[in-house]
Symmetry: C2
Subunit: 309 residues, 2 copies
């Protein structure tokens, strides 16, 4: 199966209570496509935009993982999207110190012909109207469309977001965003409302508290792996999304069972991502490391009870 | 098996964003012993103290659930412990508006002879020196001792708490308390440190985010059931502890497997507790309701993955 990933490719500068990253490669589509590449050896198409300040070595990371960058526009004389942020002591909350939109300000995604045929589509966090325009450029409706978004678009592009939501199969957001989108505090009520807005599946990401998958009246709770050390949480959510959709694209069927497995694989990739700065960990995973970690997830929630009547 | 429960029996007054309880029956030992009674039809001994303002109807709740109140001191002319608090909009954090120690100020737990033989001991949240004095009154070391405590004692009775910790098998605290007790932010590191301070098992309660069980190098993550509505969180932690130790006391073996099951049973009882004010829900559970809810927990985390190599 083939997968189209749209989203940012960018520079980040991350400060944690323990270290500073300097300028490193980041961006939602970067993490999504790299994470997905552990499930799809080929057929991943990246569509995004950078300036000519973006290094060739950065683009090589994609090629080494079999990701096509035919749809990655490189704008001469312009600068790449840049984000600088600082994590607080709890390593969960962060403050944005600087955002330079640069090339992203007038990004107009244009799909190469090869990408228009993709079976799976990951609409990474971007302006909802751009996400929609990508979906509309496809030659046919993909088998599965996953949308990621954030509170910023709820505040600034509500109508566009609501419209785009009607066109997707899966929405991934965090708990605060689910509450804002639904106007409900209870996540169970929030999920019911959001599932009536378009998506058939909803994933609510809760960081170190795991993720919830909702579908019809079913709920699945995937824990996050309790970690010795969280070095840099940047990209964890996008790595999750990449592992999630990459795994699904490698499966012959999409149903609640494979969705649950996809949430576990996404959580596993995210648990690696936070071990080092930026993409350092997600460009270098060994298959053995990944399967060992999946085993840890299996053990983590494993119990056996035979309830009576 | 028999179970001794020590802790507060009290009056609470609870305000939530949705309703006010008025003066109702509460207290850690109240919730613990009622929750445990779903696993032990007899042999539960409650040791606590109330004033003569505590109603006979309150004490009948215990008797109806087969709980012995021989060790419940009733102090003539004195008033029962009283706590008044208000939950914030998130229903997770709360502010204490009033605390009247009353009879608790010079509580001196005295075990009736029958209670000194108990196989299981739940040391509910109380001054650590009182918890220790109960343990020392036992005729022999119980098969399992579970200690609950809180940040207040870490601030005000550190040395006593550390000393008491060396005498118990299981410690149950919340995530913030685990961090305070260990001086470590990572819960994995915190757990390692706390397990070196005495307890062989550690349960870290994370409210709506479930509970973690630590033992040697093993970790078990029990989710909380995502709820439509949380009406009153008061007593959830104590109901958890009661279900946990009550289940263990009904088992022939104590090991990591039965501990995991106990965490699930504790979580199930806690999920009922929050559905109504005070003890209303935990005095009226039907066996069928409980087993249905256990099935929900089983489904909630159920997935099947065969990781490769």
């Amino acid at each position: 199966m083939s997968l189209l990933v749209i989203g940012t490719v960018a520079f980040d500068e991350v400060e944690t209570p323990f270290a500073s990253s300097g300028r490193i490669i980041g961006g939602a589509a970067t993490y999504v496509s790299l994470a997905a590449s552990y499930f799809l050896k080929s057929g991943i198409h990246l569509v995004s935009v950078v300036g000519d300040d973006f290094p060739e070595s950065g683009i090589e990371h994609f090629h080494r993982r079999g990701i096509s960058t035919e749809g990655l526009q490189i704008k001469a004389g312009e600068k790449s999207f840049f984000w600088r942020g600082r994590y607080r002591a709890d390593m969960n909350s962060r403050d944005t110190l600087e955002t330079q939109l640069n090339v992203l300000a007038d990004f107009n995604p244009v799909l190469p012909e090869s990408a228009k045929e993709c079976d799976f589509l990951m609409l990474g966090n971007l302006m909802p109207s751009l996400q929609r325009s990508v979906l509309q450029q496809m030659n046919r409706r993909p088998k599965l469309v996953v949308l990621d978004t954030m509170n910023f678009w709820m505040d600034s592009a509500w109508d566009d977001l609501i419209d785009t939501l009607t066109m997707v199969d899966v929405l991934t957001i965090n708990d605060e965003e689910a509450r804002q989108l639904s106007g409900e505090f209870s996540l169970v009520k929030a999920a019911r409302k959001i599932l009536s807005m378009g998506p058939r599946y909803l994933v609510i990401k809760k960081g170190e508290n795991g993720a919830l998958l909702f579908h019809q009246n079913e709920i699945f709770y995937a824990p996050a792996l309790p970690l010795e050390e969280v070095f840099d949480p940047t990209g964890a959510g996008d790595s999750f999304a990449g592992g999630f959709i990459g795994f699904l694209a490698s499966q012959s069927e999409i149903n609640f069972e494979t969705m649950k497995q996809a949430v576990i694989y996404g959580s596993a990739i995210a648990s690696f991502c936070v071990e080092k700065f930026g993409i350092e960990r997600v460009i270098n995973l060994e298959p053995q490391e990944l399967s060992d970690r999946i085993r840890q997830f299996v053990r983590l929630v494993d119990f056996s009870i035979q309830p009576g009547n």
